[in-house]
């Protein structure tokens, strides 16, 4: 199918069917089979009104929504597409397979795994292609993850052109917070043929968002607005056909080239649109960027890549990876984000760690808590693809190099998932010792990237930092190469800088000098430890000198925050570790623990300081003298102290304190887990090892984990009356184990009587109760 611009699409289907007498509660897609004439009438009217493409009546035809209709996805889609094709004959128009959201939320907000969403969509796309659709229209999407799943499925299952539109509201975001820029970048990267907006808003309200999309894509832009808003009493929409067509001129001027209507529009609107001459918009130049669902980061200025998530030489991180402790990694991500990193490098390569499963797992965990774009750092192509698949946004890949094998395996993946990529200037012969030769490799990588269709803006060259104390002449070669790559090839540049000073006294001075020189030479993406203030100071200064930091505002703010030199009253010399915990001061608790460990043993600190302080806070909570937030703050301060203690034990090669293992889970069907998470925070800080199985967990999974981990105590939570039966079932199955664990239950609707009735040993009315129960369970020998 050829995309000729401007292109006219159709208008609403749902509101048209309602007007034609579809009964409320009817699943509209079933009409393709039960009342095809009702649907065909709508299609014909749109073709006659001037639609080049009409979307078939297949919006909700997925296996979840069709489950109770008595029809399969294939039947509904085949009927729908054929019906539209039949109607198209009259005008020679085209038929789009219409694909909407699945109707349940994906992880991590919901519980549908990404891979399953891709499967659901693959079935739809296949059925549409088989039925002879000319193109695919993924529309009314709100979640970037789900939209990715749909587009990946369309590209993998068919060769059809794909239009992708999401729904934005007046705040300029989708319901899940995705921005138009992030949507445009991500979808173009994944190979969409046109991107834009449908539904939610009237044409006028859409203008700023259409502009934002246009500024972030080279693709044609789609606009399919509603006829204004419906009246809640009459159901009538506010904008008439003529005003709609008039307003569409403004949308076209903002960049929309493929136009149609959504809810509330009808063939009159399309006819009016067909009579209207739409102005043409200029195409703006599109700079480079990477993004997450919420943040689109232009790479046309200096951006800091945080390097801390890399296990090389970091014992605590190595252990976290071996133990599957993603919480610790998320903490590292949060710290770097707070310290001013713009992107985060993610490397989980370590002996004993399966990168293929760990890299995507860490990517998902970090993306659930931090908005920053990620740079996926691995030499394992399988791990890279697994991570690219679940990264929601436009990622960066670290890295490809001049070796044939690397070029052949990495670049196609970068292209398929629409990422940016770091090109290392080394090849089969190692790292060249002159700038010229490194630039030659960069040039070769550029040619190869261009050949597979990766835009120039998405290739970042790393000219490689060598240790100056070992190969002194190389520092200048690196800087020269950076300069040439930036100015002659016009590419963005990446450099890990700290390596430069290895083996020298006062390393920071040399690193800072090198960083400043590299930035001057044209370094755009320094890879550094953002937690090192001295390094970030250099970046802040550079942003002032280059003019990026307009009016020096960022710089002034940075140092204004520091002005009150000594910290809050917290940093009191008299404060004990117990005080710091009781007051919930995390940094202070950490510092005092490190201090105390110089003279006292780990066990002594746990027994004499940590536990008593936690107990005291717990008792006050029971008496209503302190409240839940203070209890949790104290627990978190204790967690920081435990972190120090654990580190100290690790240094000595000893294991940490372990007061016993507990499994915690929110039962199947239940998705509210704040209560369970609160209990976990506190239990962990009493030294219990907690296996958090998450929310909506099937009884079988809990039983399997209980058996494998051999835990003595399982905690279950449920919030709604509808999920109580799942709790009962879980307890029943647990009790059939050879060595059944003790079970404690809690949650808004659970009562002591209910706990007893379903055979749970303990009912915890709140977090304090849960701690007491654990203490009782684990004090028995």
């Amino acid at each position: 199918m050829e995309i000729k611009l401007p292109m006219l699409l159709d208008g609403a289907m749902g509101t048209m069917l309602q007007k034609s007498g579809m009964k409320p509660g009817t699943v509209p897609e079933t009409l393709n089979i039960t009342d095809p004439e009702m649907v065909a009438a709508v299609h014909r009217a749109y073709y006659r009104a001037g639609s080049r493409v009409v979307y078939a009546n297949t919006f909700g035809a997925n296996r979840l929504k069709m489950k109770n209709t008595g029809y399969t996805v294939q039947e509904i889609i085949a009927a729908g597409v054929r019906l539209a094709k039949e109607c198209a004959k009259e005008t020679g128009g085209l038929v789009g397979l219409d694909v909407g959201p699945i109707g349940v939320m994906l992880e991590p907000l919901g519980t549908l795994p990404f891979g399953e969403a891709v499967d659901i969509y693959r079935e739809i796309m296949r059925a549409g292609a088989d039925a002879g659709a000319d193109m695919i229209a993924i529309e009314t999407m709100s979640d970037l993850a789900e939209t990715r799943a749909a587009l990946i499925a369309a590209k993998e299952a068919t060769d059809l052109p794909v239009f992708v539109t999401m729904s934005f509201d007046a705040t300029g975001r989708t319901f899940t917070g995705c921005t138009p820029a992030s949507m445009a970048r991500t979808m173009e990267g994944l190979g969409a043929d046109a991107v834009g907006i449908n539904c939610s808003l009237g044409p006028k309200e859409m203008i700023p968002m259409i502009r934002e999309i246009r500024a972030n894509t080279t693709l044609p832009v789609i606009a399919k607005p509603n006829a204004g808003l419906p009246d809640p009493v009459t159901g009538a929409y506010g904008v008439d056909a003529e005003s709609f067509a008039e307003a569409m001129k403004e949308l076209a001027a903002a960049g929309a080239e493929i136009v149609g209507g959504c809810c509330g529009t009808n063939p009159d609107y399309i006819a009016a649109l067909a009579r209207t001459e739409l102005p043409k918009a200029e195409r703006p130049a599109i700079g480079g960027a990477v993004c997450t669902w919420a943040v689109c980061l232009s790479t046309d200025r200096v951006r800091v890549i945080g390097e801390r998530i890399n296990p090389t030489g970091k014992k605590r991180l190595q252990q976290a990876l071996l133990e599957d402790d993603t919480d610790y990694i998320v903490e590292l991500a949060i710290n770097q984000a707070d310290a001013g990193a713009d992107l985060l490098d993610i490397n989980v390569g370590y002996p004993g760690v399966d990168e293929v499963s760990m890299l995507p797992k860490v990517v998902q965990a970090v993306q659930s808590a931090v908005d920053l774009p990620l740079q996926l750092d691995t030499t394992n192509p399988e791990a890279l693809e697994a991570a690219l698949r679940v990264y929601h946004g436009k990622a960066a890949v670290n890295s490809v190099n001049g070796k044939e094998e690397s070029l052949n395996t990495v670049l196609p993946l970068v292209k398929k998932y629409g990422a940016a990529v770091v090109g290392l200037t080394l090849d089969e012969n190692g790292i060249p010792d002159t700038a010229e030769k490194r630039v030659a490799i960069a040039r070769r990588i550029l040619e190869r990237a261009t050949a597979v269709g990766i835009p120039k803006e998405d290739l970042w060259i790393d000219c490689l930092t060598l240790t100056v104390s070992a190969q002194q002449e190389q520092a200048m070669e690196t800087l020269k190469a950076v300069h040439t790559v930036r100015n002659e090839l016009g590419l963005k540049t990446v450099l890990g800088v700290s390596n430069i000073s290895f083996g020298l006294p006062n390393r920071m001075l040399v690193t800072r000098a090198f960083l400043a020189a590299a930035l001057e030479a044209g370094l755009t993406l320094p890879i550094v430890n953002p937690n090192q203030k001295e390094i970030m100071d250099v970046i802040a200064a550079r942003r002032v000198l280059s003019g990026e930091d307009e009016g020096c505002r960022g710089y002034v703010d940075r140092f204004a925050e520091e002005a009150p030199a000594s910290a809050a009253p917290a940093a009191n010399a008299e404060m004990t570790l117990g005080d710091a915990i009781r007051k919930g001061l995390r940094k202070e608790a950490e510092r005092l623990t490190a201090e105390a460990l110089k003279t006292r043993s780990e066990m002594e600190l746990v027994e004499q300081e940590l536990i008593p302080a936690l107990e005291e806070t717990g008792e006050k909570y029971e008496q209503g003298k302190v409240f839940l937030p203070q209890l949790l703050s104290a627990a978190q301060a204790a967690q920081s102290a435990f972190g120090e203690i654990r580190g100290s034990l690790l240094q000595k090669g000893e294991q940490g304190t372990d007061r016993g293992a507990v499994i915690m889970a929110t039962v199947q069907g239940d998705i509210h887990d704040i209560g369970k998470n609160i209990v976990i925070t506190v239990l962990e800080n009493y030294g219990y090892r907690v296996y958090d199985l998450g929310k909506d967990v099937a009884p079988e999974v809990i039983v399997k984990e209980a058996r494998e981990k051999g835990v003595k105590l399982v905690g279950l939570s449920a919030l709604m009356t509808t999920t109580l039966p799942a709790m009962a079932e879980t307890v029943k199955q647990l009790k059939m184990l050879e060595e059944p664990p003790l079970v404690m239950v809690g949650g808004a609707v659970v009562t002591a009587d209910y706990a007893q009735a379903i055979g749970a040993e303990y009912y915890a009315k709140d977090v304090r109760d849960a701690v007491k129960i654990a203490a009782r369970v684990f004090s028995d020998p």
């Binding site: 509660g25 319901f175 808590a369 937030p629 069907g669 009356t721 009562t751």
Partner: protein, 218 residues
């Protein structure tokens, strides 16, 4: 719209909260107000009465059971409403559960209190559109004998998936998590309070306030 912080503290059993907790709650409420735009949606449907219960023809829904019958006994119209803080709230919770559980706990109750306030606003709007009519208390699927299973039909009738991004799972729990559906009846005579109060509350057996002899609405 502002978050009723005192109400939120009450949900947490911290009505008598100290300065620090109150400050945390106010600060957290400020963060939510800055980042999120709660939304609501409602539609009015004429009531018909059938053998299976109250029938809302335009919505394709039947409200079975005695609660709906009692609540809507004198009504000719029922408004279905749905309010949500959106998935942005779930995102923020996810982030803060990792960053600081104390704030996350406060954020959770602020979200609940805010959702109720949004429902109040929706109710006001409905009242404004029906001058001369009297409104019943709000009631929702899951109250009394009104089945939670109605949530699916509710979402469909208001097209809430498309219009507000709200979904229900197989247990009929709504996502995003701070989403509420409610029914309000419209009558020609003043409607007595039929629903608010401990008698209708699921938590009456366990309520910390009742044990102390006080009322959560105090």
């Amino acid at each position: 719209m502002k978050i009723p912080v005192e109400e939120a503290l009450r949900y947490m059993g911290a009505a008598q909260a100290d300065e620090a907790t109150r400050h945390l709650a106010e600060e957290t409420a400020g963060m939510l107000e800055e980042r999120l735009r709660p939304r609501f949606l409602w539609r009015a449907f004429p009531i018909a009465r059938g053998e299976e219960g109250i029938r809302l023809e335009g919505a394709g829904m039947t409200l079975p059971g005695t609660l709906a019958e009692k609540m809507l006994a004198e009504c000719d119209t029922a408004a279905l409403m749905i309010a949500t803080l959106g998935a942005g709230f779930d995102r923020m919770m996810q982030e803060w559960e990792k960053r600081d559980m104390a704030r996350a706990a406060v954020m959770d109750v602020c979200g609940s209190a805010w959702t109720e306030a949004v429902c109040d606003e929706a109710e006001e709007e409905i009242r404004g559109r029906f001058p001369g009519k009297y409104l019943t208390d709000r009631f929702s699927p899951g109250y009394g004998d009104l089945p939670l299973q109605l949530q699916a039909g509710f979402l469909q009738a208001l097209d809430a998936g498309r219009k507000l991004g709200i979904t229900a799972n197989e247990s009929y729990l709504l996502l995003p998590c701070k989403s509420v559906t409610a029914i309000i009846g419209l009558a020609d005579r003043p409607q007595g309070a039929k629903i608010r109060g401990c008698g209708y509350c699921r938590l009456r057996g366990e309520c910390a306030y009742r044990k102390r002899g006080i009322f959560c609405g105090d």
